[in-house]
Symmetry: C2
């Protein structure tokens, strides 16, 4: 058994560090969802977090962990999603530069959001190779500090503060359901659930992007190849820092279909009155699917984010 | 000056009575909205309340205030909206019958919701006269107890618990913005703001249904005549129990256009990640419109409900 790469004290320190900047998001119950599952269900509302996603936690912890020298040159990453916004937001809060490499086909609303936090956007071709090469050039030119969206212990420790909060808000829990993309949130959640409550953690993933499930079962990282899912935040593959924690500390990984994700998303919007993105519906969908194993239990579910294009909601929710 | 028809102690008693059944809804801040207004803005999330609206408070207080004899025969009302659901929910919680008169053209989703709480739905022609006559017949036949949606001191005392909670969650406030339809929530809010914090209260209303504004200015009730507004919860006219309280205790009433309501609704969905109904956007729209008067202040805004047909959201949020 490998030593834990992040200690309980490091997660506590991360929480103390970022607490002045982030929301302590509410943990809500909803009678309809509870009845459908047949369990007490606690929804951790990271859609109500700064920048609309848990990513604010990890990005802020990474920025606050930099030395004064490192901060001066700013931070950089490549991202078409919430991490780019989160890093831009954290950098703005600290008054340091941020450089975000984004694919040239990024939706204008996301580009505007990153620029709205004062970051410089550098466009590249929409391939992973182009993203990485462009970021290399930016790092070389600016000497900015790279903050990876998930494969970074400072980021993982930041994401771990979410489950730490859940267990402070509801100390008695029988399970935590958590979506998994690159594994930053899931690995952090598994560590906090272990340290602060010894609670089993279940990773939740779209069938159409089931690399975490396959990696978990195989015992080694199997990257995803061009996954197609409505849960666009969960398309990324596990990293060499997140996978070992997940392999050791996560109880199981459940997968759900696109239809199950859509139905769970509508359920949360309609009954819990929360705007969540498809990725955040994956945990609810997995709990509904496996409800037989959790009858009468107390289950936490992380609603990881709420960044969704309202202009496209009509298509999703057509009656 | 008339004596207050509802005492501080009665509101405290109502809160104690209903607390085991309702959510103590969160009071959230949102940076974007705060920056747009130039004030600290606190959103009271009654969209996250039981049945998705503050109406659960008043309905439950009315049901719990009945004698054992009265309870036995059940409760009745006419409603095409949130009060019908709230009364059905409260009756179900107490295990008593509920009879809800609804217009024959009510959306199926609302009929299903009321029936979902086990209430009996009685249809009538979609006119106020038909609703009242049908309810009379139901009351005669069932001997059920009528619970009016707003013109009832037990209901007003229940709605008053919302502002009481706001002032417990954020004792320092310079103003509270509250939507007004029949005036149950606004009169209750004005009483609690007076008793528990001496905070000025502003009523907020669609221009297209500005009977409260006109009544407030005139000094007597001017009913609305066939108002057309997206904020369907605010079409009703003031009652003889709500108006005197509003006239005496409310500082002013602000009106907003349909476009301002739509823009505020989108802002709250998109940035605060909360599903709110158009009526709940009216307070935010009014604060944005009159922000010049509240720079640097602390302002509470009641998001009164979140019951909206997701199938129609596409039209509202077309890009």
């Amino acid at each position: 058994m490998m030593p834990n790469p992040i200690s309980q004290e490091q997660i506590q320190a991360a929480h103390q560090r970022i607490a002045p900047y982030i929301h302590r998001t509410p943990l809500l119950t909803n009678q309809t969802i509870a009845e459908l599952v047949g369990a007490e269900v606690f929804l951790k509302c990271e859609n109500l977090q700064k920048v609309g996603a848990f990513k604010a936690r990890g990005a802020m912890n990474a920025v606050l962990s930099l030395s004064a020298d490192e901060r001066q040159k700013g931070v950089a990453t490549h991202s078409s999603g919430n991490h780019g916004q989160a890093l831009a937001w954290a950098a703005k809060k600290m008054g340091i530069p941020a450089y975000i490499v984004m694919p040239s086909n990024s939706p204008q609303v996301k580009v505007d959001a990153v620029r709205g936090y004062g970051a410089e956007v550098i466009f590249c071709e929409p391939t992973l190779q182009a993203r990485e090469e462009t970021l290399e050039k930016v790092l070389y030119k600016t000497r900015a500090h790279m903050v990876h969206p998930y494969n970074d212990y400072r980021v993982i420790a930041g994401q771990a503060t979410c489950a730490k909060e859940i267990l402070e808000q509801q100390p008695e829990l029988d399970a935590i359901f958590c979506p998994v993309g690159g594994g930053g949130l899931l690995s952090g959640t598994a560590l906090s659930a272990h340290y602060f409550g010894n609670v089993p953690v279940y990773g939740c993933e779209p069938e159409m992007a089931d690399d975490a499930k396959r990696s978990f079962d195989a015992g080694y990282i199997i990257p995803s190849t061009n996954p197609q899912t409505i849960a666009d935040g969960l398309k990324t593959s596990l990293g060499d820092k997140t996978f070992p924690i997940i392999r050791e500390r996560v109880t199981d990984i459940y997968t759900v279909s696109e239809a199950e994700i859509g139905a769970a998303m509508r359920l949360v919007w309609e009954r819990a009155k929360l705007v969540i993105e498809p990725s955040a519906a994956v945990g609810v969908a997995a709990l509904l699917k496996h409800s037989a194993n959790f009858k009468g239990k107390k289950v936490g579910v992380i609603l990881c984010g709420g960044n969704v294009d309202l202009g496209k909601v009509g298509e999703i929710f057509k009656n």
